[in-house]
């Protein structure tokens, strides 16, 4: 009985129409354009400039061997320092990522202990850590008759802006996904437009896809503007593969899109979705290493922090942009993002309501 579906040109199909209308609606709201594109830039500039000088905090020092000899085998405790024990390879990696400020290495040769510093010349904290460690060692009456040799980390140092930009990309992807999808859906629901759409033959799939696609188009613009500007102004670059970078951006974007969908699956009021959104985003703003390294939190929090999606995204972006690592070495982070995406998407589809 059904009439054979008539051939429609692709532009008059639901998905292209919905994406198109979402995009033009967006461009007709100047204030939305401002918040989406210029606010992140404003943030990058103000923070990039403001945080050139970092406040003094405990200095993070990696100990290799047993330079500050003690019998317990545990890292020693000294005020102003946080010590950790690592092998030299791990320690160099941490220093390169800006997660420790300096390394103190000891080698025992014929019962005589030789000390060596590793520092990052681009970071003032590193020189400070060395100077303070020297004072500390003098107080401990260590045999420091000759000056301790210093090895400079020479493979591309890490300035604060290099640390900051991947973090800003991360929160933009998070905000874009959550606000872009969550708020858009609740807005459609509040205006009863979602119910009106439910009364047409249009499928949920097309609706959600159109929101996702238009979101991706906005986000791509955001990423390009933020990255381009920070390259031009601060010389921030992507040391790793560009394709790897894009994959992580898409993965991260999709992950927060799914979380946004879950957040908005039932909310019927702007206030509700606002509240849930802040509840979801605030812990990640704080713990996921946006403005400062997440390693600064107590170690007992580390397992929780590591499985937050924004931590995984920020760590991956930094690994690719700053350390030049490839996506294949980021198995754990990719898995975290994948699991969050799959979990929240599945739950959102189950809970989703038109009204």
């Amino acid at each position: 009985m059904n009439p054979a579906p008539l051939k429609k040109s692709w532009t008059s199909r639901p998905l292209p129409q919905m994406v198109y209308t979402r995009l033009i609606e967006f461009t007709r709201e100047p204030q939305a354009v401002f918040w989406v594109y210029f606010f992140p830039l404003l943030m990058a500039f103000s923070l990039g400039i403001a945080f050139r000088e970092k406040p003094t905090e405990d200095l993070l020092v990696c100990l290799v061997g047993n330079p500050l000899a003690n019998s317990t085998g545990k890292p020693p405790i000294a005020s102003g320092f946080v010590f950790s024990r690592e092998t030299i390879d791990v320690a160099i990696g941490l220093l390169r990522r800006g997660r420790v400020d300096a390394i103190l290495e000891s080698e025992g040769i014929n019962g005589e202990i030789k000390l060596k510093f590793h520092t990052d010349p681009t970071r003032p904290e590193s020189a400070l850590a060395k100077a303070k460690l020297e004072t500390h060692l003098a107080h401990m009456n260590q045999p420091t008759l000759e000056p301790i040799p210093e090895v400079f980390l020479n493979l591309g140092g890490l300035r604060y802006i290099d640390f900051l930009i991947p973090g800003l990309l991360g929160i933009n992807l998070m905000g874009g996904g959550l606000w872009g999808v969550g708020y858009a859906l609740v807005d459609l629901r509040v205006r009863k437009l979602l119910k009106r759409f439910a009364a047409t033959p249009m499928r949920v799939r097309d609706l959600l896809l159109s929101i996702a696609i238009s979101r991706f188009i906005f986000t791509a613009g955001q990423v390009i503007i933020l990255l381009g500007t920070s390259w031009l102004v601060f010389g921030v670059q992507i040391r790793g593969g560009f394709l790897d970078f894009c994959i992580i951006v898409i993965l991260g974007g999709f992950c927060f899109l799914s979380i946004g969908l879950l957040v908005a699956s039932r909310a019927t009021k702007y206030e509700t979705v606002n509240g849930i959104m802040n509840l979801v985003m605030l812990p990640m703003y704080v713990f996921s290493g946006v403005f400062f390294s997440a390693e600064r939190f107590p170690e007992m929090l580390a397992p929780v922090i590591r499985i937050l999606p924004l931590t995984a995204l920020n760590d991956s972006l930094r690994a690719i942009m700053n350390e030049g690592r490839s996506i294949t070495s980021l198995g754990f982070e990719v898995m975290v993002l994948g699991l969050w995406t799959a979990g929240t998407l599945a739950l959102a589809m189950r809970l989703f309501r038109w009204r």
């Binding site: 009439p3 639901p14 209308t21 009364a199 047409t200 033959p201 249009m202 038109w354």
Partner: protein
């Protein structure tokens, strides 16, 4: 048998909808309807009577707690995609995107349907050609309502569901909306409309169901409803002070019905005003109470409702 089902646009049996809560809200409490193809059927009732809930059950937007709905011979559970193609809906309040033009909005809705009409034709049908490139946000209430109607019409529906399509519009806009509904019916379309306006129901609908507190309390054509109510003419007697014996007048041959609206207000129906008026006056004088006013008038659908429920149609349904 096949012909029979094709004859009905909507058939529903004992529809109920109860919202869980403390106490549960019984929005629809057993509605049965048979709406013929090509008919304009009106659901009339005060705000909160369950009109919208009943309509949304038939639109497949709500799942009934019990009872069955068949639309164009099919059910929402089994043939929802097909039914969505064949029905057009205008909700009571939809805020279409303000930043889109009329044409963009109609094109968007057209894209949802396999066999959609040309958006420009539809815009012409609702007389909005001159506003085709205007943003929705810049339109008047009546124009927005016509856009909503165009969205409902663009899929070339056989059946149109309209939930209070003229509420809040000025008289001229209302007439424009009525014309569009009548044009749609003239082309063979079926319409199910809810309203709380009497004149709208009398003007548009060939058949009516009056709904109150989730139930149909009367059903028929506007003419039948007026006739079934009892008499052609009403006499309303107001006493200055309450308390005459409720039996102050006994039904005569021409006074067919008497009801006590309040202790000092009584409604009578009569087949002959000339014959019964002197008798009413005489009986009222015998009560010893002072008559404040006596009014007489031809019944309207409003009276049908008041007579059936003792309440005005525009009154909100209160909790008790």
């Amino acid at each position: 048998m096949y012909i029979e089902t094709m004859d009905a646009a909507i058939e529903c049996e004992n529809l109920t909808k109860t919202y869980p809560g403390k106490p549960p809200v019984e929005a629809v409490r057993g509605i049965s309807l048979h709406i013929k193809r090509g008919e304009c059927f009106g659901i009339l009732g005060p705000n909160g009577a369950g009109k919208t809930t009943a309509l949304e059950l038939m639109e497949g937007l709500l799942i009934p707690t019990s009872g069955t709905v068949k639309v164009l011979g099919k059910t929402w559970q089994k043939d929802s995609t097909w039914l969505r193609e064949k029905t057009g809906i205008s909700l009571q309040e939809t805020k279409l995107s303000e930043e889109l033009t009329v044409l963009e909005t109609i094109r968007l809705f057209a894209s949802f349907y396999q066999d959609s009409a040309d958006p420009k034709d539809i815009i012409a049908q609702v007389s909005l050609e001159s506003k085709s490139l205007s943003l929705i946000g810049k339109l008047s209430g009546g124009q927005k309502q016509r856009v909503a109607l165009a969205c409902a019409l663009v899929g070339r529906p056989e059946l149109l569901f309209l939930d209070e399509p003229t509420t809040g519009l000025d008289p001229q806009s209302r007439r424009q909306v009525w014309e569009m509904i009548q044009k749609f019916q003239a082309k063979g379309g079926t319409i199910l409309i809810t309203t709380h306006y009497m004149d709208e129901a009398e003007k548009l609908c060939g058949a009516l169901a009056i709904v109150d507190q989730g139930k149909i309390i009367a059903q028929g054509s506007p003419g039948e409803l007026l006739k079934d109510f009892g008499g052609q003419t009403r006499i309303e007697v107001d006493f200055l002070e309450p308390g005459p014996d409720p039996q102050w007048i006994s039904p005569h041959s021409e006074i067919t019905h008497m009801s006590e609206v309040s202790p000092n207000r009584f409604l009578l129906q009569t087949t002959s005003l000339i014959d019964s008026l002197p008798k009413v006056l005489a009986a009222a004088t015998l009560t010893g109470k002072t008559i404040q006013t006596i009014r007489t008038h031809q019944p309207t659908l409003e009276d049908v409702f008041v007579g059936l429920t003792g309440r005005n149609l525009r009154d909100e349904v209160t909790g008790s």
